[in-house]
Symmetry: C2
Subunit: 335 residues, 2 copies
């Protein structure tokens, strides 16, 4: 039986995070012992130390799945987000920004406990971003925050691998995935980060093999980490065996869609200058899922992903600055 | 007797404000009853209403004199700032950003009372900014916040006209000006905004005529408001009679330096695309004062001002994104 028509094209569940972005030199990363291009989890004391050491910053709402969901709204898709902030200034900013982007966001903020989560993002002159995340209130996302009726009314549930880090979020994730499948919906997962894959490899593979997720997004580093191999083709063969559909992003080389009807390579969009890669993967997923929502073919989905990613890496910050719907129209990718 | 060598080239006193910037259409300004291109003072309730209505936003430290002082630091000048924040999240961000820019900032934050001041900045597609300021804790800047020793050790005190709005800040301003003059230092004032001039015209003229200030910065609209005339030449004649040195900024037409040795017109720097005019006047003042600090001629001071203004209007936000010192060197305006 086909699922009834959905209220939301995509509902995302993720860590609700405000980004604190600053430019930094390579030396700064070295001095701070940061691994360039990755995401490290930090505690409150380390968050203070990094903030004290870093340059003048800009605060912008972020969070991986949240960025994706905002991208979907910018592409004209109906979308919703579930994630935990505290009822503090940054939490207010996060809620304002995501709602002002047209996303339904109704998760109750935490009244006490740790402050709203923050990610200290250092952007080096080459445009690469290095992230340090203090999860804060995001740690307290709980299965009770998952509303069964809303999940069942969403065509796709999109989950970030980073959710495996906070204590209860995993249970919220599994609860949502079960409700979605029982309602005939699809479940998508992004592997998030190579170190995140290292932390949760077995569980991620289990999610794929048990068909708890139907679609995964991964970049090359995450894919290699997942199958513990440096052989790209072997890793892709692993994907083919383990999941119905996988999308592998390869930066300027575009992406590979690995599905039941074979493998399709889709080129990236050329970019004049990479200013800040923050949000590149998140926005790629937004474009791809927007294509899926309208039943587009793999190539169109991949091109929409590439277009959204190209927009976000040409400015500071992980959320689109222009209407992605207009951009899609200008590039012959309109609905 | 010449004043002893200074610890700071410029010490700024102003409202400590965090900007909340969002893009907006002209229709939004109309619907909200905002006057495009100006600064309106708003109360806490109106601040909430504007924030709820506006689009996704970015938080960045701002404040007129604070932006100028950060610009001076970026130009390699030793600088300090005096202004009041609350000990809250935004106050922490303001203090972090200005110190991380290399500015000395030691004003004690307010432990209670209103929250840190915010300016809701709406940037229209033409790059013009329309500002709505909730002064918050900035209202509580008090003469006790003025440290006589630090003021006396600063070659130039730079004050914003906006300081006339909060209750006690005016007294702080006058206290600082007297200390500075007693120590053989100079006092500069920016007129800030045409409506601010309308509110405080007589007091501003009195400051000039009593030689409480030695140098003023004004744009054309502020100048016309000051002398209540639409005749530019008549207004300039007024300036010549009322103050030793005045600098009138005229956007893409450059600036006019009106001094004891006559009047010099200095051209602007060409700009590819105006993204956001927020901070244009503030950064012009930074460049001009940086020139003064090294004893440059009027033309060089004006060109440095134009260069710093050109940098800040080509991106979102009121603080420089690149080293202005490097930019000055590349444009043949190095020390």
């Amino acid at each position: 039986m086909a699922a009834p028509s959905a209220r939301y094209d995509v509902l995302g569940i993720g860590n609700a995070i405000v980004d604190v972005l600053a430019r930094a030199e390579e030396d700064f990363l070295l001095a701070q012992g940061m691994r360039k291009g990755t995401m490290a989890l930090i505690d409150a004391a380390r968050a203070e130390a990094i903030y004290d050491a870093m340059g003048p910053a800009v605060e912008m709402s972020g969070g991986s799945a949240a960025n994706t969901i905002v991208g979907l709204a910018s592409l004209g898709r109906r979308s919703a987000f579930v994630g935990k902030v505290k009822a503090d200034g940054l939490g207010r900013a996060f809620a304002h920004d995501i709602r002002a982007a047209g996303v339904s966001f109704t998760t109750a903020p935490a009244a006490d406990g740790p402050s709203t989560g923050r990610c200290y993002v250092l952007v080096t002159p080459d445009g690469e971003r290095t992230m340090n995340t203090y999860l804060g209130a995001a740690q307290d996302l709980h299965p009770n925050d998952i509303d069964a009726e809303t999940i069942a009314a969403s065509a796709v549930i999109y989950l970030e691998g980073y959710l495996w880090d906070p204590k209860h979020a995993k249970d919220a994730f599994l609860k949502a995935a079960k409700i979605a499948h029982d309602a005939g919906r699809k479940v998508a997962l992004t592997l998030s980060d190579a170190f995140c894959v290292d932390r949760w490899r077995d569980e991620f593979l289990q999610l794929m093999r048990s068909q708890t997720v139907d679609l995964i997004f991964a970049n090359e580093a995450e894919l290699h980490a997942l199958y513990q191999t440096s052989d790209f083709d072997a890793a892709v063969a692993g994907l083919r065996a383990d999941i119905a559909v996988a999308v592998v992003t390869r930066s300027e080389k575009g992406c590979l869609v690995v599905g039941p009807e074979g493998t399709e390579a889709v080129p990236a969009f050329p970019v004049e200058r990479v200013v800040d890669t923050t949000g590149a993967g998140d926005l790629f997923a937004a474009g791809f899922l927007a294509g899926l929502a309208r039943g587009a073919d793999d190539r169109t989905c991949g091109r929409l992903g590439a277009l959204a990613a190209a927009e976000v890496i040409q400015h500071l910050g992980a959320r689109p600055e222009t209407s992605l719907k207009d951009l899609a129209r200008e590039n012959g990718l309109a609905d």
